[in-house]
Every structure is written in structure tokens, then in C-alpha cells.
């Protein structure tokens, strides 16, 4: 094998890689919070709504968790223009990832809601708390504590999953890597460096989430 590694060629592009990493985090962050909102709404609907709405939510979850997010975004980005809706790459990726995350998060949230003891809700009712108050002061703290480890895992997973945005021309880390590798012709180096950045990025995110869990929610979980 006669191949001389030239990492300098790639490291020259560090501003692009750094901005790519930030965009990756941003995409993951937005998709995660939108997904959380969808998930919470879905989980509450599954507990309290009418049978048809429950079935609808169930169908949404089953469909989105059993199909690849790549194709979901394909439909949004390449399919919808056939019907007259044109989305920018970023919007399509964000909508796709959020809907996908929302489906998984509905289940995670539901597992948290189930863990709230009925007696505590009854106690809240006895104390004449309104529905909102009992949700805010009884359900939510329980929810946050039980599902926190799952949520932080999920966030890391979304950071990795956001890499498919690169295939649609979103300038996040994987997208920057594809661009750098095609302009500099140094593919091995470009993707090695990118992989390294992803490892560092997710480690920082894990450490941060661990610290928040430890100090904020008293969750003592394994870090690695």
C-alpha cells in the first residue's frame, strides 16, 4: 500500500468542521426538543384521549419506529415536491428527525407516565390541585427522574442520527466531511477526523448530561 496520510489537508478546514459540529448539535437539539413535545403530547393522548386518537397515536408510533428515518426524509424532501410542497434541506431534515424522534419519545414518555403512582395523583386531587398543578408538581418530577437516563441516551443517538442530514446538503458535520473529502480527495483522512470529532462531541454531551442528571435529578447512572 502506497498511501501517504496527509491530515494537514483536512485540518486546514477546521473552521468548517467546527461549524459543522455546531450545526450537528443544533439539529440534534431542535429535533430532540420538538420530539419531546410530540412525545409528551402523544403519551398524554394515549393515556387520556378518546379511543380513536389513541389508535392514531399508536399507528404513528408503530409506523415511524418501523421505517428508516432516511426514507422518511426522502419522502419529505424528494416526494413532497410532487404534491407541490417544496422544503429546504434543513427544514426537511428537521421535520423528519423530529417526527422520528417524537415516535420513540412517545414510548419513552409513556413508560415514565406509567411509573407515576396512582396514589400520588389521588393525593394531589385530595389537596385540591388543578389538573395542571398535579401534572406540574407530581407527574413531571417523577417523569423527569425515571426517564432521564433514557432521554440522555436518546439525545446522543440523535446527534449520531443527525449525520444523515449531510446527504441532503445540510452543512452539518457529516455533510462537511463529504464536501471536504470530495474537494481535497483525501477521503480516508476526512472521515477519520470526522469520526474523531463525533466521538469527542458525544463524549462531551454524555459528560454534560451525566452531570446534569447527577446534580439536577439525583440520577446515579453508569457513565460509560
Amino acid at each position: 500500500m502506497h498511501y501517504t496520510f496527509q491530515f494537514g489537508e483536512i485540518l486546514k478546514h477546521w473552521p468548517d468542521l467546527l461549524s459543522g459540529a455546531l450545526v450537528s448539535l443544533l439539529v440534534a437539539f431542535i429535533a430532540f426538543w420538538l420530539g419531546c413535545l410530540i412525545g409528551l403530547a402523544g403519551a398524554l393522548a394515549q393515556q387520556h384521549a378518546s379511543i380513536w386518537l389513541r389508535r392514531l397515536v399508536r399507528g404513528y408510533v408503530v409506523f415511524f419506529t418501523n421505517t428508516p428515518s432516511l426514507i422518511q426524509i426522502f419522502v419529505l424532501f424528494y416526494g413532497l415536491p410532487d404534491v407541490g410542497i417544496v422544503l429546504s434541506p434543513m427544514t426537511a431534515v428537521l421535520i423528519g428527525l423530529s417526527l422520528n424522534a417524537g415516535a420513540y419519545l412517545t414510548d419513552i414518555m409513556r413508560s415514565g407516565l406509567v411509573s407515576v403512582k396512582k396514589a400520588e395523583l389521588e393525593a394531589a386531587a385530595t389537596l385540591n390541585m388543578s389538573a395542571w398543578q398535579s401534572f406540574r408538581y407530581v407527574t413531571l418530577p417523577h417523569l423527569a427522574k425515571t426517564i432521564y437516563p433514557l432521554l440522555s441516551n436518546f439525545f446522543i443517538w440523535i446527534v449520531l442520527g443527525s449525520s444523515i442530514g449531510g446527504l441532503f446538503g445540510v452543512n452539518e458535520l457529516a455533510g462537511q466531511a463529504i464536501e471536504i473529502s470530495s474537494t481535497s480527495m483525501r477521503s480516508i483522512e476526512a472521515f477519520t477526523v470526522t469520526a474523531g470529532i463525533y466521538v469527542v462531541l458525544t463524549f462531551i454531551a454524555s459528560a454534560f448530561l451525566y452531570a446534569v442528571g447527577y446534580w439536577g435529578f439525583r440520577v446515579r447512572a453508569r457513565f460509560i
Binding site: 408503530v62 418501523n66 426514507i71 424528494y78 449525520s163 449531510g166 469520526a195 440520577v219
Partner: protein, 245 residues
């Protein structure tokens, strides 16, 4: 552009149908072969990780680092990296083989972690009892640990394998002719992309849904795992709907 009904009748032709089936088979083969190899390798890695001899310390450290790294690199980047490295070395492999190698790397890392969690769920007293009875290392693993770890390992392993059927969609980026790539080819032949991608979504669903139902059923039959789920990073497949319902 053809109308929708014309497109649908064209799609039902023998050529496109066999093309689609072939592509679906490639997707399944990629996922199944990758996961079988990953299952074996992951099991071996988990076995090495629970040894305590100083002799194997460097190997253990290396494996831990590799597993941790692989689980923090996106599948897309792993795919590209595998392809460019193999081509840079000068080995002439088909795209399918390259994708298969990447799938194996990832599934080995995740399944090693799942096996490790399973092994940790076995009570220490059981292991000590087996050692007192002078069980050999392989007897300990196959007669004591595996039968008990099975319950903890199987559900997440199963949902992980199901999730791999979906993740192989990314292999289309290399040029492996699996479902997603087949869809792209049909679109360049003039079919509506909305129709084709919609159909492909349905095919993926048809492959993945029965398997995830089977996994959920297995889990209910095995009962609640005794160990707490590992809080370390695992794919969300390990926490899908069926697992929680």
C-alpha cells in the same frame, strides 16, 4: 409524466417486481448476516471483557476502547470510512461486502455491550458457587451465565437487529443495490418519487413490523428482566414501544 394508475400497472410488471424482491432480499441479507456475525463476535468480546487475568489486560483495554469508539461514530461515517480505507488499501471488494463489513463492525460493538449488560445481571453469588464447584470457564459461561443472562440479552438484542434492517438503508449511499437504491433507480426511470418512496416505506414496514412484534412477544414470555437496564448509551431500539408496553 405517466398518470398514477399507469405507473402502478407498470410497477406490477415482472421486471420491476423481481428487481424489487431482489433488492429487498439484499436488505434482509445485509441485516441478517451482519447481525449473526455481530452476535458471535459480540459474545466473544463480552467473554473476554469479563476475564480478570493480567495476561489479557492489553486485549481487554483495546476491546473496550474499540467498542466505545464504534458506538459513538455514526453509521454513515463508518460506512464511508470502511469503503475508503478498504479501497485505499487496494482490496477489490464488492460494495455489498464493504457494507457488510461496516455493518459487522457496528453490530459487534452494540451487541458486545448488550451481552456485557446481560452478564452483569447474573448474581455474583452464582458465579462464586460455580467456581466453588470447580466449573471450568466455558462451563461457567454456558451452564451458569448464559441461561440467566439470556432473559436480559434477548429483548434488546432483538430490537437492535430489527433496527438494523432500517439502518441498512444508508448502505444505498455506497451503491449497494438494496431497497433504497432500487427506489432511486426506479425514480430515475420516471416514476413519481412520492409513490416509490411511499412504497419503499411500506416494504420496510412489512419487513420490520413482524419482527418487532415477535421480539415484543418473546420479551413478554421471558418476563421482566431482573437487572436494571444499563444506563450507558444504547440505541433507542432497546427501548421501543413493545418493550415498554
Amino acid at each position: 409524466m405517466l398518470t398514477l394508475t399507469q405507473q402502478l400497472t407498470n410497477l406490477m410488471g415482472a421486471f420491476t417486481l423481481t428487481f424489487f424482491l431482489q433488492a429487498a432480499w439484499n436488505t434482509l441479507a445485509l441485516a441478517m448476516m451482519g447481525c449473526s456475525i455481530g452476535l458471535v463476535m459480540g459474545f466473544l468480546i463480552a467473554c473476554v471483557r469479563r476475564t480478570r487475568t493480567r495476561l489479557l489486560l492489553p486485549l481487554r483495554a483495546l476491546l473496550i476502547v474499540l467498542v466505545e469508539l464504534m458506538r459513538r461514530i455514526p453509521f454513515l461515517v463508518t460506512l464511508f470510512l470502511t469503503m475508503f480505507t478498504l479501497q485505499g488499501v487496494g482490496v477489490d471488494l464488492s460494495f455489498f461486502t464493504i457494507a457488510l463489513i461496516a455493518v459487522c463492525l457496528i453490530s459487534t460493538a452494540y451487541l458486545a455491550e448488550i451481552f456485557r449488560t446481560g452478564f452483569e445481571s447474573v448474581p455474583q453469588a452464582q458465579i462464586e458457587a460455580a467456581q466453588t464447584l470447580n466449573f471450568s470457564q466455558s462451563q461457567l459461561i454456558f451452564l451458569v451465565m448464559l441461561p440467566q443472562a439470556w432473559k436480559v440479552v434477548l429483548p434488546p438484542a432483538f430490537s437492535f437487529m430489527v433496527s438494523f434492517i432500517k439502518d441498512t438503508a444508508l448502505a444505498s449511499q455506497l451503491g449497494v443495490v438494496e431497497l433504497t437504491f432500487a427506489g432511486k433507480i426506479l425514480i430515475t426511470r420516471g416514476y413519481s418519487s412520492f409513490l416509490i418512496y411511499g412504497l419503499i416505506l411500506l416494504v420496510y414496514f412489512a419487513m420490520s413490523y413482524p419482527l418487532s412484534r415477535l421480539g415484543a412477544r418473546l420479551e413478554r414470555r421471558l418476563g421482566q428482566p431482573t437487572a436494571k437496564p444499563s444506563a450507558s448509551f444504547q440505541p433507542p431500539a432497546a427501548l421501543t414501544a413493545e418493550r415498554l408496553s
